[in-house]
């Protein structure tokens, strides 16, 4: 009923090929954008930003990045944490080297630097695939973290080996450091999230995305019909790492402010982002958002319900979180490999026919 296409005619090609062809969907999208841009910034405080919105937005970018590589191009990567670290350290070096430059430029450049590193580590994907590629990216993960720990140039020779984000602004508004306003950091991350989602969505709908999906579905067949595997795989690594690098830069500079590479960008980070796209849905931009929202919100919701309302011990609730995430991953892998995004798709189909299923 809600999703009736009746009366929703496309009269031009651009109309026919737009992202949200159903009018209701399109309006919903505008409403979400409106709320996110115009309403939320006036209502949030430090708690909402730091506990929910910022991690959600930043993880969503990382999930989009990994989804391009794993979900669209079929190249399994366990190096997300390492690539996020590249973004973070690139951003740190840029921030300290060029303090007068706007943060927007720093974050974008960090993304580009990560893209270059990603291509470098993507080279083995031309020869190996599947589990072996996962192991190769795992090596990238450990190598990058080891390097950032080992080479003191990356952390400007500080005694603690940590990197700390100094105060930086864009258009005179503070973006990093402790005295930022909640709305400013939120908007900064939101702009990057919207930008990433729009770019990723359109890339995956275009010829590049089709090449990725052809490689994913069957690389030999793709090669026979004229897809260049070198180009397709390396662009997937580049675009994926670009987004992951942006998220790493934001994670360090805007969200945490101080980072210790082994702890923040360790192998667990790679797994968390991978869980997000498994639960959210492989090969879906919406799935990246759903997965990020789920993984970020679950511990917070559990904490509010379990600890604050029911008064359970904090360790029980923390363990419960692990149990639930683990269980859901198993369930999703068995029952719904396409994740929350597929559930949403099925729900939409049902709503389209409701209340007349036949």
């Amino acid at each position: 009923m809600l999703y009736r296409e009746a009366g929703d005619f496309s009269t031009t090609y651009p109309q026919d090929s737009q992202t949200f062809p159903i009018r209701f969907d399109r309006y919903r999208y505008y409403v979400v954008l409106f709320i996110a841009i115009v309403v939320v910034p006036f209502m949030i405080n430090d708690y909402w930003v730091n506990s929910l919105f910022m991690p959600f937005l930043i993880y969503a970018i990382a999930a989009i990045g990994l989804n391009i590589l794993t979900g669209y191009c079929g190249q399994v990567s366990l190096g997300t944490g390492g690539f996020m670290a590249v973004g973070a350290y690139a951003c740190y070096k840029l921030m300290t080297g060029f303090p007068e430059v706007s943060m927007f430029i720093h974050v974008l450049l960090s993304g580009l630097i990560t893209a270059a590193v990603g291509v470098l580590f993507g080279l083995p994907s031309l020869r190996i695939k599947g589990f072996y590629l996962a192991v190769a990216t795992l090596a990238a993960q450990f190598f990058l973290v080891w390097m950032f720990n080992r080479v003191s140039w990356f952390y400007n020779y500080s005694a603690s080996g940590q990197i700390n984000a100094p105060e930086r602004d864009t258009f005179g508004i503070l973006i990093t450091g402790p005295s930022t306003e909640a709305w400013a950091t939120y908007m900064f991350c939101l702009i990057f999230t919207i930008f990433s989602a729009v770019v990723a969505r359109n890339l995956t709908r275009g010829s590049l995305g089709r090449q990725w999906m052809a490689i994913r579905d069957m690389d030999i067949a793709a090669e026979i019909i004229g897809v260049n595997p070198l180009k397709a795989k390396l662009t997937a690594f580049a675009v994926s790492s670009f987004f992951v690098g942006i998220s790493g830069a934001l994670f360090f500079a805007v969200y945490l402010g101080a980072v210790e590479v082994g702890e923040v960008f360790g192998i667990t980070k790679s797994f968390i982002v991978l869980f997000m796209i498994i639960i959210g849905g492989l090969g879906s931009i919406f799935g990246s958002f759903a997965g990020a929202a789920f993984i970020v919100m679950l511990p917070v919701v559990l904490k509010i319900v379990g600890v604050d309302w029911l008064g359970w011990p904090t360790d029980i609730v923390a363990h419960l979180n692990l149990v639930i995430v683990g269980l859901l991953i198993v369930i999703f892998l068995i029952a719904e490999p396409h994740g929350l995004a597929q559930l949403w798709r099925v729900a939409k189909e049902k709503l389209r026919l409701w209340p007349f299923p036949h």
Partner: protein, 427 residues
């Protein structure tokens, strides 16, 4: 609409507790993850001390204490989440017991005007109160620990360490890297040879590190470890038959849980401490009576009197004293976050106070000032007696080499001040 969301937020936070005057003490604990072995006794001690005050004295100055426990799993992201979710409730002082979280919180507490107390961990140069207005690390810090350990070795070796080989096994993080600068300075001063052996988080795999130690044969091994890394290191040291009496851990590497898994082989292992060990203090009678027997002990209640439990009893005691001081200065019982900072900055701990609260000689007597947030910087050495199953304090609280440490603190804090455009206080 703005009103409404704010109301929800507070409603969610306040749902658990009735609205009344209380002193909120956040406890960023970690009862899960690879560091839980240290986190559980720390969290239990902190909670039990305030339970004792509520049960025995009706709180502090008549105002009950509310401990807000929040699980961080020693993870900086969760630490930030915990900080944000508890700060609005009037949290008086944060004690995260994690150097990583401390680094996150230093700029945040300074912007929000809340006190941060990092006892023997965190950023050592926070001892310089001229730069760090809200951060305290009395009574002692890592650099003091490194120096106390070297002083102890000097005593053992007749005052001469030239040609002595010291290996530092450390957690490859901000925490583990803290003592390196001091040790390098001391190596230059005393002529010993220092080798650095990092162990990556979480430290369950140390075969190659101990192989290196077996090959290099250092005279002494120092360890800056935490969590599961400690017991693995002690076990590995036992495996290569490294003489335990030449193996000295920092004060975060010297708890019961670190040595018990290695059994008799761990006998003689040494560790630094900043507080008394064992439960031979009058306060434990009160804890038994008002907390344990009343069924109000935190966690499983099996940690009482262990090294790390004692450490947070001490931490909570120092917070208790700072609250009393703040109440005295401002003449109000229900103090605010700003008043708490005044209380900590004017804190004075005497031997009489420690005796009065049932902890005679539990820690050193010291006073805090606007310039000095670091306290006296003393430490003692303890040794594990595997047969008796207890830690024994084998030296008195001894001072560190301030000649090396003070210039380092000055240098590091001034670098921080110029990086962050901080104006010096206390002029």
């Amino acid at each position: 609409m703005k009103m409404k969301l704010a109301t929800w937020a507070t409603a969610a936070l306040m749902a658990a507790s009735p609205v009344m005057a209380d002193l909120v003490m956040p406890s960023l604990s970690y009862r899960t993850g690879p560091y839980a072995v240290g986190g559980i006794p720390l969290a239990d001690g902190y909670a039990d001390y305030f339970t004792l005050l509520n049960e025995r004295d009706g709180g502090i100055g008549g105002v009950p204490v509310r401990v807000l426990e929040c699980e961080t799993a020693y993870n900086t992201e969760k630490g930030v989440e915990c900080y944000e979710s508890t700060k609005a409730e009037g949290s008086l002082v944060y004690q995260p017991f994690s150097t990583g979280i401390t680094y996150q919180l230093i700029p945040k507490v300074t912007a929000d005007g809340i006190a941060l107390h990092t006892m023997g961990y965190g950023r050592t140069s926070a001892a310089n109160g001229k730069v760090f207005s809200n951060v305290f690390n009395y009574p002692t810090n890592y650099w003091d620990a490194a120096s106390v350990a070297v002083n102890y070795l000097l005593d053992e070796n007749g005052g001469d360490l030239s040609g002595h080989k010291i290996a530092l096994v450390y957690h490859n993080s901000a925490y583990g890297k803290e003592p390196i600068r001091t040790l390098e300075g001391l190596a230059e001063k005393h002529g010993f040879e220092l080798s650095l052996i990092p162990v990556d988080h979480p430290g369950q795999e140390q075969k190659s590190q101990w192989l290196q130690i077996r090959r290099d044969k250092p005279d002494t091994v120092l360890m800056w470890g935490w969590g599961v890394m400690n017991q693995v290191a002690v076990q590995e040291a036992a495996n290569i038959r490294f003489p335990m009496e030449n193996f000295i851990g920092a004060w975060w590497s010297g708890a019961e849980a670190d040595v018990i898994p290695a059994g008799a082989a761990a006998n003689g292992y040494k560790a630094l401490t900043m507080n008394g060990v064992g439960r031979d203090y009058p306060i434990y009678d009160d804890i038994q009576k008002y907390v344990v027997d009343a069924g109000k002990a935190a966690g499983a209640g099996d940690q009482i009197g262990t090294v790390l439990y004692n450490r947070t009893i001490y931490a909570a005691f120092l917070a208790h004293m700072a609250i009393l001081k703040a109440q005295e200065i401002h003449g109000v019982a229900d103090i605010t976050q700003a008043m708490m900072i005044d209380g900590m900055e004017n804190l004075e701990i005497t031997d009489e106070m420690m005796a009065e609260y049932g902890m005679p000689n539990f820690g050193p007597a010291f006073s805090v000032s606007c310039e000095n947030h670091g306290g006296p910087g003393v430490g003692a050495v303890t040794q594990w007696d595997a047969a008796a199953g207890e830690w024994k304090q084998i030296t008195d609280f001894a001072p560190s080499d301030k000649e090396i440490i003070n210039p380092l603190i000055e240098e590091d804090s001034m670098a921080f001040a110029s990086e962050n455009n901080i104006d010096l206080r206390c002029n």
